[in-house]
Subunit: 425 residues, 2 copies
């Protein structure tokens, strides 16, 4: 039986999971793969930290070169995250002819195309199933399962932290800040939660999915990202009364020869497949012209789900069945759609003074911007004389809604900021 | 660029889809796979039928040998269905060193293990993504994505016809017979719908999933299968009032060293992930010890979803990345669990005479069989003096429930048959 030697860089949460499973399931993986997959070396800059799994001293090093330039090592697993020095490490591993497995969404969003092209030239494979959706085999599905399909859309909930927070707000009526604090206490949110709650993490993952699904090599900064920190529990309540849930959606959608790429809080009808995705779970919908609409759901992060994905990549590369990343749809997409030109329905919440004629003024502004109103609800007064008004619009141009909101916000009857949440039907 | 020649056997609904897509997307698939996939020959016993796609006369044959013994053909696609002559055709193709792609669930359920073993010996791959769940990449997920996982359960809705019928009954209050008639008119159900509505089709697919997921080589006849023809719209209504939907579930669940394998109508809480799967859609849940609970959802049948899966297999085999089917969990499972020994909660509907003391008699029988009752609801009278009583039990042994129902049915106060539906929580 052939032995495949693995060098692992980054002995953190996921690294510990991968090391534990590789050790405990070695004979299991032999049966499943026909190969003996051996953990040969583990590299981390800190060898003294306490970890939930023991590794023999001889297997530990601080010197990444001991992995990169060890001719016996076949596969390098990069789990340190971030762009630097992960990018240099991965590129050097590729140049040394080693297969690479990574969970590094920030790096792949930033430099995926460059990495995949160099890997293809060097004839080695890069596995990145763990970079999006934890243990959900969404990368495999897009690369292989949908190979014959022209995709129309990929969208979903791809950040567990924000979904946990929104779930807490919805189910328990909490404020954003309190829900965030619970997420932090549970280890679902970082001490500095900016990457998650700003939608940037979802944008990274969306860039990877869109690259695979549409051949669209968008830098993550080109993805419109709006986070959840301005979502008020009142909005979740009002949306609920109208039959909608509020979710942070990442959306890549073909619109002619352009690709809409956007991350923002979204109202979804409660009977929509992914409106009931709760807690840290992820759910991704892929719409292909042959296969139709498919949904993939599972834990989007965590030590063992992610380790499960990392090991599935190790096994595929070990078996030599992980080919280069090939894109077939690049020519269909000429660029990223201008955010101002997308069209969607909107939920708009206004805080108004309780005076006659206010609604007429607001309606007048919307009409001038050619925004047609589907429903208006005036809610119970909140603070003193402030009356919340919730409007649902028909489909309207993004720039028109932005313009109208700017104008409405200047009305003297308006108290507090105007909340705007896009609706997907 | 290497050319891969495909011979297709069975020019029916799915065959037409595969032929059309292979022709129209040849250059697309070149980009995606780096290979030129050419449809070399199509075999069918009827060459005169009208079909939605044209094939040049030179590409058509009635002689299957022209495909099997053509040394230029690399991959044989079998789409005729049924065990004979499909089995002999597939085995001969394998012996001739050709890769095989099939959507034949009946054959794989019956003889999958034999076919996979011979294929492994001959060093050729067998692709069967299309055999379960239409275009949903569930086979890939189980073979590759979950490779490191010990599975706890695979369950779901894997027959679109019955789910369509149950959905019509639930949403429109139709009788089974009327809903079936609509399914037939829409082409979702065959003129003879027995295979679908008896649960046997689901049992075939479950046998395939359980083989991959648990290494359990169960003949489809060893899978307990109970269909939907005895489901009354009253049961769907009563279940709904209790917060449940009725779905035909296929369940493979590890119970110690035994595997429960069963197909039957099942009550699922309405907020369960798959309780809202409507129409001809399929949804499969896989529970792994590392990856956690994952859900795969999509169109479970149809020309193009199935063609999408067939072509994904053709591409994988063409690229040489489709390895043999390897099982790692066979040793964990010592056999199929005895149906009498499974434990579950039950919904039981009794039609009783409207006389005092009946409930006491029934409760006495259940108590003697050690079945504990969670709730009892007496419904409005249905026909004349018949009163429906709906009981929800706590978890109870299958054989105890069977025994109790047999005894209750003999009570003189009982009118009409006792309906029993298992509950999964």
């Amino acid at each position: 039986m052939k032995t495949i030697k693995v060098g692992l860089i980054g002995f953190g949460t996921i690294g510990s999971g991968v090391i534990k499973v590789l050790a405990e399931r070695r004979s299991w993986l032999k049966e499943k793969s026909g190969l003996d997959i051996e953990l040969a070396l583990v590299c981390d800059k800190d060898l003294k930290a306490r970890r939930p799994v023991k590794v023999g001293k001889g297997l530990l090093t601080k010197d990444v070169g001991k992995i990169l330039y060890n001719p016996e090592i076949n596969i390098v697993v990069e789990l340190i995250g971030g762009v630097h020095p992960a990018k240099d490490i991965i590129l050097e591993a590729i140049r040394q002819g080693k297969g690479v497995v990574t969970a590094n969404k920030a790096l792949l969003a930033e430099a995926g195309q460059e990495i995949f092209e160099i890997a293809a030239k060097c004839g080695v494979a890069v596995g990145f199933e763990a970079s999006v959706g934890g243990g959900i085999p969404i990368i495999r599905a897009l690369k292989d399962g949908f190979v014959a399909n022209r995709l129309d859309a990929i969208y979903g909930i791809i950040n567990g932290t924000t979904n946990f927070i929104l779930t807490k707000m919805e189910d328990e009526g909490l404020d954003f800040k309190d829900a965030l604090r619970i997420a932090q206490a549970k280890g679902y949110a970082e001490a500095n939660p900016a990457l998650d709650i700003s939608g940037r993490d979802s944008a990274h993952k969306l860039a990877i999915l869109a690259y695979l699904g549409f051949g669209a090599a968008a830098k993550p900064d080109a993805v419109y990202a709006e986070g959840i920190k301005d979502i008020d529990r009142a909005d979740i309540q009002y949306a609920g009364e109208l039959g909608y849930a509020v979710k942070l959606l990442a959306i890549a959608k073909r619109s002619g020869d352009r690709l809409e790429m956007r991350v923002h809080p979204t109202l979804l009808k409660k009977d929509h497949l992914i409106a009931n995705v709760k807690g840290v779970y992820n759910a991704i919908v892929v719409k292909g012209d042959l296969a139709g609409e498919q949904l993939f759901y599972g834990e989007g992060a965590g030590r063992y789900p992610t380790a499960s994905a990392v090991i599935s990549d190790i096994v595929d590369i070990a078996k030599g069945v992980a080919g280069p990343v090939r894109l077939g749809q690049g020519r269909l997409i000429k660029g990223i759609a201008d955010m101002d030109k997308i069209r969607s329905r909107h939920y708009i919440r206004l805080s108004c003074a309780d005076k006659p004629g206010v609604l007429k003024l607001i309606a007048g502004v919307l009409a001038r911007h050619r925004i047609s109103i589907a429903s208006v609800t005036q809610k119970e007064k909140l603070h003193g004389r402030v009356v919340p008004i919730v409007m649902m619009t028909h489909e309207a141009l993004e720039s028109a809604v932005s313009g109208a909101i700017k104008e409405v916000a200047r009305l003297s009857a308006l108290k507090g900021k105007v909340v705007r949440i896009r609706i997907e039907d």
